[in-house]
């Protein structure tokens, strides 16, 4: 046997099959990098390569989902599934999990579903990026491969079974996003926003790595499952591990912009180019929520009383401060930044109820949040291209008369963020509310309802400005059909999921039972 064969037989070959979506994203990023470096007349080529890479990765993610459900490899099983009822069959195969790269990378349905939503959100961002950048004279090819690297970081993050993998994914994502914020050409606010995010995000990184050091020092392990066992078998309370957990919660709350550590959010959101703001508000955010849920449930289930209280306090503060400050904002982009802080509050509020229902509510809300956040910010990015549009709240006056379709779309997103019944935002808030009541956390549930009512003050102002006023400025909007269609698709998803959330909620419930099934496994 040659040395290579001995090596392979000794340590085994990692299962590259389940890594195909990540590998495709990585290769696409490098291809875009070289096209940007050497190509001529390259703008459409870069866009289409990025779109192709993301779509291909999306397709392979679906293929792996089907593979986990065992539908491709074995046709007999498929025939059997048709006989015995499709849904019950899928459930029985739901808990399969692939570990690869020597236990440093896990692929299961939980991570795959989040990957699908990250990729879909990114595709919508890429679709609108070029026209925005060209109209603002800030086109760089770098946007595309930095976005791809950030997506790769998020995909690594959501399928990490291990603090090392989690940390690498988080930093790959964060550093790419720091650069993306500062890429607005000749715009000082963008540089300032990027620097603020870099300093505060860097502090968050240091806090998270110190937390990892403490957890490693007092348990001797990095993998979530091993940390759990150390906590389970230790006789007395392990002070070092609890200290590490507190620092980890603080660092993750900083990355998710929960309130005591939210200072960077409004500035970074306002300074960044608007499509990048949408990218930060949707895919980056849901990856962070997913990883928060994963670490809390898989590594620290036996101290759930402590961390659920911590997240409840963070959620309550985020709701109150986010909504209160959003009320006085005149700039809609900055208002949406504060509303995203409030939404962080609604989403992590579900962690206050450490039950299957609570985790399902968190997953459901963070998945639907992609459509609302991308939709609302993409609307701004479409309109910012026109001369005279400043994102000020008065610019929305009379929009319904000039452009009824876009006004309707924006209205749908605003109602969904507010949580009015025919839209999906209502369902998200309802499930969080039910989860909180189910665990008898009445104070937070009541606070959630009150804060939702307060948020009507700023969301409805946008809608009423669009519908009940005469146009204030003579701006003409010509928005092309594909752009209208893409916004329409997002709005229709928001409304249809609001009317029929059953299937989506089943998926979230199953995902949360997957998470719980991995405890101790």
């Amino acid at each position: 046997m040659s040395i290579i064969q001995q090596l392979v037989s000794g340590i085994g070959v990692p299962n590259f099959y389940v890594l195909i979506p990540e590998i495709i994203i990585l290769i696409t990023a490098f291809v875009v990098f070289f096209i940007e470096l050497f190509g001529k007349n390259k703008r459409s080529l870069i866009t289409w390569t990025t779109v192709a890479g993301l779509s291909l990765s999306l397709i392979f993610t679906f293929v792996i989902v089907l593979g986990i459900l065992n539908l491709i490899t074995n046709p007999q099983i498929l025939a059997h599934a048709k006989e015995s009822g499709f849904y019950s069959f899928i459930i029985s195969n739901f808990f399969e999990q692939y570990m690869t790269l020597f236990g440093l990378y896990s692929v299961d349905i939980f991570s795959l579903v989040f990957k699908v939503f990250i990729l879909v959100g990114t595709l919508f961002v890429i679709f609108h990026l070029r026209s925005y950048a060209e109209s603002k004279k800030t086109y760089y090819g770098e946007y595309y491969y930095l976005i791809l690297f950030a997506v790769l970081g998020m995909m690594i993050m959501v399928s990490s079974p291990n603090l090392i993998t989690f940390y690498i994914g988080l930093e790959l994502m964060s550093i790419a996003v720091y650069i993306l914020i500062g890429m607005y050409r000749k715009n000082y606010l963008s540089k300032e926003a990027a620097f603020k995010y870099l300093i505060i995000g860097g502090t968050g990184t240091a806090i998270i790595s110190y937390a990892i050091a403490l957890i490693y020092g007092f348990s001797g392990k990095f993998a979530f499952g091993d940390i759990l066992k150390t906590l389970f078998y230790s006789d007395q309370t392990n002070v070092g591990l609890i200290g590490g957990l507190i620092l980890l919660i603080l660092g993750l709350a900083l990355k998710a912009s929960a309130v005591p550590m939210h200072f960077w959010t409004p500035d970074a959101y306002e300074g960044a180019p608007t499509p990048i703001t949408a990218f930060m508000a949707a895919p980056v955010k849901i990856a962070t929520y997913a990883v928060i849920l994963k670490i809390m449930v898989e590594a620290f289930p036996f101290v759930s009383e402590q961390w659920s209280l911590a997240w409840a306090i963070l959620a309550a503060l985020s709701m109150v401060v986010g909504n209160a400050v959003a009320l006085v904002q005149k700039n809609v982009k900055r208002m949406l930044a504060y509303s995203s802080i409030a939404h962080t509050g609604y989403i992590v509020a579900a962690l206050a109820a450490p039950t299957t229902v609570g985790f399902a509510a968190l997953i459901f809300y963070s998945l639907i949040y992609v459509f609302m956040a991308v939709g609302a910010l993409m609307f701004l990015s479409l309109f910012e291209r026109f001369e005279g549009w400043t994102n000020h709240i008065d610019d929305f006056k009379g929009l319904a008369r000039k452009n009824p379709w876009m006004a309707f779309v924006m209205g749908a997103f605003m109602f969904s963020m507010l949580g009015i019944p025919p839209t999906v935002g209502f369902m998200g808030k309802l499930f969080v509310f039910l989860a909180l009541i189910g665990s008898d956390i009445w104070w937070l549930a009541v606070l959630l309802v009150i804060m939702s009512i307060v948020s009507a003050g700023y969301y409805l102002k946008v809608v009423s400005n669009m519908y009940f006023y005469d146009p204030a400025k003579p701006i003409s909007f010509n928005i092309s059909l594909p752009e209208k269609l893409s916004m329409g698709i997002l709005a229709i998803i928001v409304i249809i999921l609001g009317i029929y959330p059953t299937w989506f909620f089943k998926v979230s419930t199953n995902l949360s039972s997957i998470l719980i099934s991995t405890i101790g496994g």
Binding site: I164, Y167, I168, E171, I175, Y178, I179, G182, Y188, L189, K191, E192, A193, A194, F195, K196, L198, I199, G202, T203, T205, A206, I207, S209, Y210, I212, A213, L214, Y216, G217, G220, F222, P266, D267, E270, G271, V325
Partner: protein, 100 residues
């Protein structure tokens, strides 16, 4: 032989020093240095814990942290250059334009 706890305390002190630096310094270069100081404090903690556990996994993690600190410093210095070209200043008080 120095006990490992001393190194952990040293790293905690450096961490706090970096955190205080980020909060109170008014010079953007000093702020960037403070974040780097915090990441290096973490490195000391990892090596100290490896000393206690008689393992090497923590020292491998230190390499990742070094790489990430370098990447962050590169991005941060690039941004400082861009800011300095536009404003000819490095003081936070004169640079802040995004406000409540």
């Amino acid at each position: 032989m120095v006990p490992y706890e001393y190194y952990v305390v040293l790293s905690a002190l450096l961490m706090v020093l970096g955190l205080v630096g980020v909060i109170i310094r008014k010079n953007i270069i000093a702020m960037l240095i403070s974040t780097e100081l915090m990441l290096n404090a973490v490195n000391i903690a990892f090596v100290a814990f490896d000393f206690k556990l008689q393992e090497v996994a923590g020292q491998v993690f230190v390499f990742f942290i070094l790489t990430i600190a370098a990447a962050e410093a590169a991005v941060g210095l690039g941004l400082i250059m861009a800011i300095y070209r536009m404003k000819k200043d490095v003081s936070v008080e004169k640079l802040t334009e995004l406000k409540f």
